[in-house]
Symmetry: C2
């Protein structure tokens, strides 16, 4: 990991730049697959599954039998861990429920705001080397709490045509009704348009590679809502001498092992501390099963030495990291000043992996600077807020003239007329 | 307005189709303007303002003097109306504030969720025939309540280079710090990238024509968040014999006058009622200042006669209207069953224009079926929710093994290690 000592502010923008991604270069490929799924449904899914996942799938829909036998294939201890994590996630997300709001803004004018679950949601779980059952918990539990009527899940099958039992187990205990063997662009397009097997949904959640992200973004323009724009995972650590170098090194590595394109940033006021972390990382990285990936990610990563705490905070705010670990003496004070981050981990005994799996917070978070404007997935992501209003005849008499004046000033006479005609009705004793 | 009698369910999809919009056809033009603004800033804005708005602007930034003299140009009664409307909108949006959530999910594991305002937001107010000062209230008031640090507003200048005083007045009383004379694609691109005059923001709000929408959607892919995908405005009215035909006609017309591409749908169980509404509309439309527009919009509009209330509800749910007026005997009961709509207006004395201007609810709402997955603009649109967590040494001892088991099962050993190394630390009496 390269160390940058006391960078000038005018170099920060370049310094904090994420690896750029030509967002348009995949569009043609992605659009062709989307159109094929729209026109040819299941047959096209099977074709691409054979092409990309190298497996011929007979039935896209995972059978009840597959789901039930999955449970038997998982170690009891892992099942228990998954259940405890699920219970924590449930507790934290359930607490996010919002009551219906009823406000009388004027006499006879009652306005309401009600959170109503999105009827149909689709969850996408990527394939690849590791079975991301934790993401099933993170995406399905809030959907279940919100009460979405249809919760479906797509994930690519492995080489033998099966889905990892831990994914099926996590889906089962979190109320996912239907699981489908479909990955990549084809899964996203199928959930947007619907096929013979896969029902169309109104919002798609979940991470994925650049093809999946491109498909989500293209379809979000005209067909389906998505959780957020996704990019490679990232962590920033703020640390002073109160932090333990071995812990910080372990946290940085746990981000680096995600992928060669992961970003890891350490900001500190102590040069000595940075040196110690680097030494620790060199030791720890050798013990990792994914050490090649971690080493690659560390090549894009930076340790930044800053003058003081104020500068440390300013730099982090500018970066807006997905994950932020604050390991400083006054970590709570600093946390109160953070306004741009996805999820924040405080103190020496709060590793990022706690939030990745089991503490209760969600791990689907905004990357690539989107933490400036986006929330991570939370209970609200599965609702839309609908407003309702009811005005009495007397209420309209009071608010009516205001509406008429404003509508007339905006030159929208029909808007004014909709009030006027009702007020006339009143004046003439309930006839027009 | 064409009447469709008892349509078969298999025809609903076609029947409820919105006028389609080739979302890609403008992309080339829009992308060229975006790139020009990115590279040439203010100079490019001035060029396009001359080209599209036919006015040469010296200073893009509206001066304090212009803002202060604006106030003097507006009728006192209109000012008072604007202030009362603002007060209602403030009341309803302030009530949407959420407290910080603090949940201990396990012993020693504390998770928080905190709503933090987006630092910088940009509001777009379209130009055109009417000065949409009501939209200034709808977009700026929640930004002000949320406490966004930078609130800017762009709107195209009129032919004489000025901004309508009512827009400036609304901006002044709602805490907008800077107003800029820029419209269309150039305004959106400027707020995304920043220019010499216009600061870059993190999220852009507000309606606009198809060019503005395309610019927002293109930039939302990689640069800036947006409120929602926008389309032509629409209303659906559910009415039975308890409704007053003249009121329903006035409501339908108040939607139709928005634009030739507006959509208006009436659903009723009574053929006689539909006839009466049609007769009323023919009378009322002649009195409108924008009658040509309204007549055009009515050509795309439909009155649908259905068999019963159940079918009426089902059809509306399928359509997912931006605005829904329920004028039936049991309007409250029906309202409780609505899950797909932007904003709902109940009973005979609640015209849509109340919500457009003054009742307190927001008028920036999802169109084109997006009400299935999107909320209208609300206080939450100006926040992102950040999670925080802090685990004690004892807490990690409890939750640690769960994390280790799950991380190992996902083959992410560095994630497991970040926990293990901390737990070892504890065991050996605070040394590693």
């Amino acid at each position: 990991m390269k160390t940058i000592r006391y960078p000038e502010k005018n170099t920060w923008e370049t310094l904090l730049q994420r690896p750029s991604n030509d967002y348009k270069k995949l569009d043609e490929t992605v659009s062709i697959v989307i159109e094929d799924i729209r026109l040819n449904g299941d047959a096209a899914i099977k074709k691409y599954t054979l092409q990309y996942d190298k497996v011929s799938v007979q039935d896209i829909c995972v059978s009840l039998n597959e789901i039930n036998t999955a449970e038997k294939k998982i170690d009891a201890k892992l099942k228990q861990a998954i259940r405890i994590a699920a219970s924590n996630i449930k507790k934290f997300h359930k607490a996010q429920k919002q009551k219906e709001l009823v406000i009388s803004t004027m006499h006879g004018v009652v306005c309401r705001q009600k959170s109503i679950p999105i009827d149909k949601v689709g969850l996408y779980i990527p394939g690849g080397s590791a079975p991301l059952f934790s993401t099933v918990l993170m995406l399905a539990i809030p959907a279940q709490i919100a009460g979405c009527k249809e919760i479906i899940l797509c994930t690519p099958p492995s080489a033998d045509g099966s889905i990892h039992p831990a994914i099926l187990y996590a889906a089962k205990i979190t109320g996912v009704k239907k699981v489908f063997k479909a990955g990549g662009i084809q899964a996203i397009a199928a959930m947007a348009y619907g096929t013979e097997s896969i029902p169309a949904v109104y919002k798609i959640f979940g991470p994925g590679n650049q093809y999946v992200t491109a498909a989500k973004q293209i379809l979000s323009r005209y067909k389906v809502a998505i959780d957020m724009p996704a990019g490679p995972s990232e962590v920033a650590v703020m640390a002073d001498n109160s932090a333990v170098p071995a812990f910080v090194a372990a946290d940085l590595l746990s981000q680096a092992e995600h992928g060669a394109d992961s970003q890891v940033i350490l900001v500190s006021t102590s040069e000595k501390f940075i040196e110690k972390v680097n030494i620790e990382m060199e030791k720890q990285v050798l013990l990792l099963s994914r050490k090649e990936i971690a080493i690659k990610a560390l090549e894009n990563s930076k340790a930044i030495l800053v003058k003081n705490e104020k500068e440390m905070l300013e730099l982090i705010q500018r970066y807006a990291p997905e994950h932020l670990i604050i390991s400083t003496k006054n970590h709570r004070k600093i946390a109160r000043m953070i306004t741009n981050a996805g999820s924040v981990f405080l103190g020496n005994f709060t590793p990022e992996s706690a939030g990745d799996y089991a503490s209760g917070t969600n791990h689907t978070l905004p990357t690539n600077g989107w933490a400036r404007s986006f929330s991570g997935v939370n209970l609200d992501s599965y609702y839309k807020k609908i407003t309702f209003q009811e005005i009495t005849q007397t209420g309209l008499d009071k608010i009516g003239p205001i509406i008429e004046l404003m509508a007339t000033a905006e030159e929208l006479t029909a808007h004014a007329n909709a009030v006027k005609i009702r007020r006339q009705f009143k004046k003439k004793d309930n006839t027009l």
